[in-house]
């Protein structure tokens, strides 16, 4: 199933019209996230709060990025670019501003001028005035602000309610995939919370929906990755032996 999702993801950019993302009202998201968002995507000019920094933030930006949008990341020096790339973000259209400092509202406003999506972890809690000013900027430029944290005026809120890791036992195996329950609520017609189970990440690092009925079963087992890991460590130094054959 993971492979199917990956195919769908790779096909979607062409349907969405290449690199410019013409003036549509909604930026595309990964298929797995469509049900969670009003209008099935990121509403231009809106703020999405993702609770705290997690792979969910990357997943939210991935759909638009793979469709050609530029994504700026402010205040997140710890962002794992490899994970972002696996989730579907294009590293070639990524700007990283690790330390926006005290003038982060101005920095974000400037970034919104050029980038469709700005992923922000606010260094401090913005005052209502700063917040309203930024929201006006977002609406003017038609961008989307994804906040790794809380944002009072956010149109949509997503939260990882539950998570469980698969693939590892007591001294054997390795981390393979994480099943998370994402709960979304928002304002107006979208105020009824809805929850979905997602693979975040799936074994190949991508984002996929957990199929109904087979909940708990991992989409694909990649035996190849496992053997590579074991072989690699063996080659790295022959004098070391794996204590835990797993």
């Amino acid at each position: 199933m993971g492979a199917e999702v990956a195919q769908v993801t790779s096909l979607s950019p062409r349907q969405d019209g290449g690199s410019v993302l013409p003036g549509e009202d909604v930026l595309p998201v990964l298929p797995a996230l469509r049900d969670l968002l009003p209008a099935g995507g990121l509403q231009r000019g809106s703020v999405v709060a993702a609770g705290h920094w997690s792979m969910l933030c990357l997943a939210l930006a991935a759909g638009a990025s793979s469709a050609g949008a530029w994504c700026a990341v402010a205040g997140l020096p710890q962002l794992g670019v490899a994970a972002a790339a696996d989730a579907g973000l294009d590293p070639a259209r990524l700007l990283l501003i690790a330390e926006p400092g005290a003038i982060w509202p101005q920095v974000v406003a400037s970034l919104l001028d050029g980038c469709e999506i700005v992923l922000l972890c606010p260094p401090d809690r913005p005052s209502a005035q700063v917040r309203r000013k930024l929201e006006a900027t977002i609406r003017r430029h038609g961008g989307v602000l994804v906040v790794a944290g809380d944002w009072d005026g956010a149109q949509t809120r997503l939260l990882i309610a539950r998570q469980e890791w698969a693939g590892m036992g007591d001294g054997h195996g390795r981390l393979r995939a994480r099943r998370v329950q994402v709960v979304a609520d928002g304002r107006g017609a979208w105020s009824r919370p809805r929850a979905r189970w997602l693979w975040l990440p799936a074994p190949d690092g991508s984002v996929a929906a957990v199929a109904e009925g087979v909940a708990g079963e991992m989409p694909v087992r990649t035996a190849e990755g496992d053997s590579d890991w074991a072989r690699g460590t063996a080659e790295a130094d022959g004098s070391w032996q794996r204590a835990n054959a797993g």
């Binding site: 070639a92 700007l95 501003i97 050029g114």
Partner: protein, 499 residues
């Protein structure tokens, strides 16, 4: 003044003996204009030409000499080219402008003074060559007739007896440069300007005109095969005030981008004016209504764009990554943020090779095509290639959080002892608790619910300076968070977490 000073660069001087020696203030006269054709001919060999005075000009010889097959050959070709204009000239090549000038005026045309031979060449020259009537009069009366004798005086004595002029002359006599070569722009009329009549009250029409001017400037530069490192934007107000600002160009800016910078410059200046005029009223949002009212400062009467620091155009850099062309809009946003936070604050990731998550990404400041910065303190120069097998690298899925500085940690077994890994990759006990930021007082600890490892890696065992032997573990803790930990020499670090 630099004491001693490094050896001057190789300089080639073209001297046209037929030209009348003119005083400095006549430089812009008819003589200078006629000399322009000689300078243009020299420019064909090297675009950075310094006109010493009408009749004498100089170029840095090192580069052109390499290109034209040696200094002798360069001198020959230059003489030939100027001879083709029907003008007689002599050339001289030496270390530094002074020696080169004397070499050019020497009896033997095309003289080349070998590198390092400047002082020896100068020693027998008469002191009149220093070009200072005072010294030429004074020194022979003191019994000093040649530059060699003058150079033999201690510097302090020369300074005492003859002042700053004496020090300058003394440096010349020793074969040192009194000042570095300052190339004049290849052609002064590369700058473009436009007058506004009536004066432009709004910044909008000025920015619009700037686009046309920038187009003109670019086509002129392109016609001479040049690019500019910086562009100087000069706006003159009705009341005579000037707003001048240098913008980095690097031959990369489009006409539209130059126009945008003109708008920023005017807007920035206007904001400053308003702030001063109204006692620092809070900055108003850049609403559509108040765009570009230049108001009481008086309108703009003249706009001039001057290319600065001309370099040979080696082609336009398009995208940094493959075919991706960075759109003007994104570049503008990135440059604005760089203007606020500094050049290195806006980074672009480039996937690189490596085993640990931090090594797999290199960060390059936006706009730089150079070698990416290696993640903190990695030793090998240059980026390690991606797409090669990296045995022992972390398997997918990749961690979403890679700590720029690994978190210090401690892993204990059921008995509370720190877990260690032996040389034969044996774990000393079952990891039971993960301590984050451990201290004497304890720190935060989480129960380990599942774990895997150790995965030993010995990196760069062939190089004692950078080799390291470490073992990696993955942990899932009671709150279902997953961690990538590494133990090296008994010290635990959290490299990444799977948030």
């Amino acid at each position: 003044m630099k004491a001693g000073g490094s050896a001057p660069r190789r300089v080639l001087v073209v001297w046209c003996p037929d030209w009348p020696e003119a005083a400095e203030d006549q430089e812009a006269g008819p003589g200078a204009r006629a000399f322009e054709q000689v300078v243009s001919a020299v420019e064909a060999f090297c675009p950075r030409v310094e006109v010493i005075r009408p009749g004498v000009c100089a170029i840095g010889a090192a580069g052109p000499a390499r290109y034209f097959g040696g200094e002798e050959s360069l001198a020959g070709k230059l003489t030939g080219a100027i001879g083709g204009l029907g003008l007689a000239c002599q050339t001289g090549i030496a270390d530094g402008l002074f020696a080169a000038q004397l070499a050019a005026q020497a009896r033997r045309p095309g003289a080349v003074v070998a590198p390092g031979g400047g002082a020896a060449f100068l020693a027998p020259q008469p002191v009149t060559a220093l070009g200072s009537p005072e010294l030429a009069d004074l020194l022979p009366r003191l019994g000093i007739t040649t530059l060699g004798e003058f150079a033999a005086l201690p510097v302090a004595e020369a300074a005492n007896q003859f002042g700053t002029e004496g020090v300058r002359a003394h440096r010349l006599a020793r074969g040192l440069d009194p000042r570095p070569l300052a190339p004049r722009p290849p052609s002064a009329d590369l700058s473009v300007s436009l007058e506004f009549d009536p004066p432009a009250e709004q910044s909008e029409p000025v920015a619009f005109a700037a686009k046309t001017l920038a187009d003109q400037m670019h086509s002129r530069l392109a016609a001479s095969g040049l690019a500019c490192v910086r562009v100087q934007v000069q706006a003159v107000c009705e009341d005579g005030r000037e707003i001048t600002r240098l913008w980095r160009h690097d031959g990369l800016l489009s006409a539209l981008a130059v126009a945008e910078r003109v708008r920023w410059q005017l807007d920035g200046w206007r904001t400053g004016q308003r702030g001063r005029g109204e006692g620092g009223r809070g900055e108003r949002g850049r609403g559509e209504g108040d765009q570009g009212d230049l108001g009481r400062a008086g309108g703009i009467t003249l706009l001039r764009l001057t290319p600065d620091q001309l370099v040979r155009d080696v082609g336009r850099q398009l995208g940094l990554w493959g075919d991706a062309v960075i759109s003007d809009r994104v570049a503008r946003a990135a440059i604005r943020v760089q203007a606020m936070l500094g050049h290195g604050a806006v980074l672009c990731p480039v996937l690189a090779g490596g085993r640990s998550p931090a090594e797999q990404v290199a960060l390059v400041p936006f706009g730089d095509a150079g070698t990416p910065l290696l993640p903190a303190g990695r030793l090998p120069a240059g980026r390690l290639p991606a797409g090669r097998p990296w045995p022992g690298k972390i398997p997918a899925p990749a961690p979403a959080t890679v700590y720029p500085v690994p978190l210090s940690a401690r892993v204990t077994d059921d008995s509370g002892a720190t877990v260690t890994v032996t040389g034969r990759a044996q774990v000393s006990g079952r990891p039971a608790r993960l301590w984050l930021w451990p201290s004497a007082a304890g720190g935060r600890s989480l129960a380990v619910t599942s774990w895997a490892g150790p995965w030993p890696v010995t990196e760069r065992w062939w190089d004692p300076a950078t080799s390291r032997r470490r073992a990696r573990f993955q942990f899932v803790t009671e709150d279902e968070d997953a961690w990538l930990a590494v133990v090296q020499d008994g010290r635990w670090l959290i490299e990444a977490s799977y948030d």
